[in-house]
């Protein structure tokens, strides 16, 4: 990894330690939820709605029930009142949507679970599910999405804001840009399917399910089933990718729990890849109207960003990232607005850089259009408008190293000397173009607790109900404890992903490390105080531990994150620890920032688009492990390539279904799509964001790449594409 500049590091923190669980992951012994073997397991298979809007008229279960091996079939008619109606996270509850699982005959969207078959084998359950005859009444055609009109949109006033006088400034400006952009629906498609296993023992329920928030599942399920939460344990030792899809409670968990209780046996459900497209939320399609005005020397005088997002009829969900795009650059006159369009679709949710990716695509492409009109270098345009104070509320950035990122990445890329005119670079039959964009991601943290145990033999054990999603959580938490107690990392063990452990924040919003590391640090402080060792300076605790004559010292601490409500620590113990920060603080704004540069090649005849080079430089505060951070940033940028060129959940408007609900037709980047992708970590110290100084790198890598690719394609061809994904037909 010679392409990476590692920040200077003295202790264990900051070192590129190998992954804690590496051996388990390369030998197949890492047990994901569906790998856990339970005795006498029955297998479940979902039946999902084939219509987009209407009612269930009847079921004919005769053939399915007659099939050998079939044990039970759950429908809204057979399940009774076992699952209660509970609110979604948007209404203060736990669910990813407000629909009650198998709650009624109403069909709110294609793919909605309408029945679940339980059988002795997976094969029998699948066959029986195919024998379930469902009759629907579908009198009204579904609204499949935004269609061609945004007139049906509903403004979300609390998400809008304005400063100065946009209209006058725009009208009287020297140079303006006025453009519309769109991004498609996308699905996270983690490699691991949405598996759930439930087993009841003596009135206690254990759930094995990949989760970004085990306590959300525990407390949400308790509310749904009317159970004391202490009777539920949720285990998620390893998660096979999540990317936002496994953040909040979905319908399947209660169904599997109820089925397991009904038949008195463990039940295992592994929904198919196609079913996964509606098991959880997704990134909804968006439209954008951006207007920019600037002086001849490039200073922004007016900025307007209005977004439209698809939501479901049941839930009003909007990512509304105008709150960020309007705060990136100095500008005295700003107007921002967010609208939703309710469709007959499943409720959207979170997908890696949920609002940041689409809103950045619009804003960072518009800025490139402005640079072109001004005949100005796109980096120079960002420099002219760089600011240490966000322009909407006048709040300071805790730290902002954007131009250092641009200069670092530009130098590594060889940006200097780029011809400003498009369609002027050629390599044989390939048109070559270079583009760039700003990447940003708000710095979040949530309340978290941790327990650290130091033993007389020098072993340290760390416990947290945080989550290992692939970001390196086990490794980083071991590094934090090793450094704080001055012991070798090999002596540290870490337990994560289990509601029996001290509760932690949802693993979302790039907040895990920034939230759990401070809790571990505080627990280590408590151990040091017990031993009479000063905190905040490097020290080896072992001499004092030996002198103390103690066998073990164990400390449990909880840490409240900046920006959370004073009484919010109680929510930590109710599955309600959500990230705070970013642009939602009264005193400051917190962002990780980056600069991304891309080379594209467009074939002169076939119009094939290739991305031979991507270089990003990122300033994200302290990097606890540059090795795992590098993986996050590079992976994020490859997601950016996917957003720019591949990913699109195609919708059949007749029944508001996904046509390409599989991994052959929903295109994600494969190895051959990716060539040289480099991540440079720019040194940055920020002591304000949280005690660990961590800003988080899980999502920022995705954010600017689609705009940088679109800008590079314009530079290569002179064709401006404002709709994702960019395909051959756009360049004909």
């Amino acid at each position: 990894m010679t392409d990476t500049l590692f920040p200077a590091a003295t202790g264990t923190m900051g070192q590129p330690e190998r992954r804690y669980e590496a051996r388990e992951k390369v030998t197949g012994s890492a047990a994901y939820a569906s790998d856990v073997k339970l005795a006498r397991t029955a297998h479940a298979y979902l039946v999902t709605s084939s219509i987009g809007r209407g009612r269930l008229q009847s079921f004919d279960l005769t053939a399915a029930r007659a099939l050998p091996g079939v044990i039970d079939i759950l429908t809204h008619e057979t399940i009774g009142d076992e699952i209660r109606q509970t609110p979604s996270i948007y209404g203060g509850g736990y669910m990813a949507d407000t629909l009650r699982p198998l709650g009624s005959a109403e069909i709110a969207h294609w793919g909605q679970p309408v029945a679940m078959v339980v059988a002795e084998t997976y094969e029998a359950a699948r066959e029986a599910a195919n024998l379930v005859v469902v009759s629907y009444a579908a009198e009204v055609a579904p609204v499949a999405g935004m269609g061609s009109s945004v007139a049906t949109g509903q403004a979300l006033d609390p998400m809008g804001f304005a400063v100065g006088d946009f209209d006058t400034a725009y009208r009287t400006a020297n140079v303006t840009v006025d453009a519309n952009y769109t991004t498609p629906a996308q699905h996270q498609n983690p490699m691991e399917l949405f598996a759930t296993q439930c087993v009841w023992e003596a009135g206690r329920l254990t759930v094995h399910e990949p989760s970004q928030y085990v306590n959300n599942v525990k407390f949400g399920l308790a509310a749904q089933l009317g159970l004391d939460p202490s009777r539920i344990r949720v285990i998620s030792t390893y998660v096979g990718g999540a990317f936002g899809a496994k953040g909040f409670l979905t319908h399947r968990t209660a169904l599997v729990a109820v089925a397991a209780r009904r038949i008195g046996r463990p039940v295992k459900l592994v929904p198919t890849r196609a079913q996964g497209f509606t098991v959880s939320g997704y990134r909804a399609e968006t439209r954008h109207h951006v207007q920019l005005a600037a002086t001849q020397d490039g200073r922004l005088t007016a900025l307007r960003h209005e977004g439209w997002e698809v939501t479901s009829r049941a839930d009003t969900v909007a990512m509304g990232a105008v709150s960020m795009t309007a705060r990136l650059y100095a500008c005295p006159n700003i107007t921002a607005r967010v609208n939703v369009v309710a469709a007959d679709r499943s409720t959207p949710g979170f997908m890696r850089a949920p609002g940041e990716m689409p809103y950045a695509f619009a804003m960072e492409t518009a800025l490139d259009e402005l640079a072109h009109k001004l005949q100005m270098d796109p980096v120079a345009l960002r420099r002219v408008n760089d600011t240490q104070t966000e322009p909407v509320g006048g709040l300071p950035y805790t730290s902002r190293s954007l131009m250092l990122c641009f200069d670092t990445a530009a130098a590594a890329f060889g940006w200097q000397g780029r011809p400003s005119e498009p369609a002027t670079m050629r390599d044989g039959d390939w048109q070559v173009g270079w583009g760039c964009a700003t990447a940003f991601y708000p710095t979040h943290a949530g309340n978290s607790a941790a327990r650290v145990r130091l033993s007389a033999d020098g072993r340290v054990h760390v416990e947290s109900a945080g989550h290992e999603l692939g970001q390196g959580m086990y490794t980083m938490m071991a590094q934090v404890a090793a450094e704080e107690l001055g012991v070798p990392i090999a002596q540290v063990t870490v337990a994560l992903g289990d509601t029996d452990l001290p509760p932690a924040v949802v693993a979302g919003g790039s907040s895990s490390t920034a939230s759990v590391a401070p809790a571990i640090m505080a627990a280590c402080d408590a151990i040091r105080r017990r031993l009479g060792i000063a905190t905040g300076v490097p020290a080896d605790v072992m001499p004092a531990m030996e002198a103390s004559g103690l066998g073990t010292i164990e400390e449990f601490t909880e840490v409240r994150a900046h920006g959370t409500a004073p009484d919010s620590l109680r929510g930590l113990y109710r599955g309600m620890a959500l990230p705070a920060g970013g642009v939602h603080l009264p005193d400051r704004v917190q962002f990780a920032l980056g600069a991304q540069f891309v080379e594209v090649r467009v074939h002169r005849r076939t119009r094939e688009i290739r991305v031979p080079r991507v270089i990003g430089a990122f300033a994200a505060g302290r990097i606890i492990n540059p090795r795992t951070a590098h993986g996050q940033l590079v992976g994020g940028m490859i997601w950016g390539i996917g957003s720019a060129l591949h990913e699109h959940s195609e919708i059949d408007t007749r029944n508001a279904s996904y046509i390409n609900a599989n991994l052959a037709d929903y295109l994600v980047p494969v190895n051959a799509d990716v060539a040289d992708v480099q991540a440079i970590m720019v040194e940055e110290e920020d002591r304000l964001v949280n005690r660990a100084g961590v800003k988080g790198v899980g999502e920022i890598g995705v954010v600017g790449v689609a705009a940088a690719i679109s800008n590079a394609i314009f530079h290569a061809t002179g064709i401006r594409v404002r709709d994702l994904p960019i395909r051959i037909e756009h360049l004909m």
Partner: protein, 206 residues
């Protein structure tokens, strides 16, 4: 299955094994051959859904398991034999997470019926490390190059990568990218996977 093993089995099972042998040619659809059996033998009707006894040789060990005729090799490994290293990512041969070695070649265990794997050598991720725990050079390279994040696609990537080297398709970064593109990695650890395959290919001496 050897002749000596076959002799110990009841007659009815022998017939089934013959039919499985036919299915292994890949010409006769699975559902079809049970019907054919009825027509040709005039024996009691065969239940296409009845459990079949099959012997699967996995990582050098013979496993006698009962499987549904429709059960994939992937599900047989995971549900019946207890080897959960091979992963289900799509069940349609689109993602590569279930890749195993069958007779030394990479195959998708989700597109291979368990009955069709009889008499063939199956190697899964659990069979790669030496008995003393020493990792296979490809496993070691994946660790050294940080060629994974969540780890879910990793067993399939590693087995595919070993095959890629044996096939002679690991001579350049571009070639590795092309011949490893059947294995999706949603964490997108691709650059590190390429580095790992190239590192291991030198150590594997192929």
């Amino acid at each position: 299955m050897s002749d000596s093993e076959r002799k110990t089995e009841p007659v009815s099972k022998r017939r089934r094994n013959f039919l499985i042998g036919s299915a292994m040619t890949g010409v006769v659809p699975v559902i079809g051959w049970a019907g054919q059996a009825q027509a040709t033998t005039q024996a009691a009707p065969v239940d296409a859904r009845a459990a079949l006894n099959v012997a699967l040789r996995v990582n050098g060990r013979l496993h006698q398991v009962q499987v549904d005729a429709r059960m994939t090799l992937l599900d047989a490994l995971r549900e019946e034999i207890g080897l959960t290293g091979a992963k289900k990512g799509c069940d349609h041969g689109q993602c590569g997470a279930c890749t195993v070695l069958v007779d030394g070649r990479r195959e998708l265990a989700c597109l291979t019926l368990a009955v069709a794997a009889q008499g063939r050598e199956v190697v899964t991720i659990e069979g790669l490390a030496a008995p003393d725990g020493t990792l296979h050079p490809m496993q070691e390279a994946f660790v050294a190059q940080d060629a994974f994040q969540c780890g879910y696609c990793t067993p399939g990537q590693i087995l595919s990568a070993i095959s890629c080297v044996h096939e002679g398709h690991a001579t350049s970064p571009d070639q590795v990218r092309e011949y490893m593109s059947g294995n999706l990695c949603r964490c997108a650890a691709y650059p590190n996977i390429v580095a790992a395959v190239l590192q291991a290919s030198q150590q594997m001496g192929d």
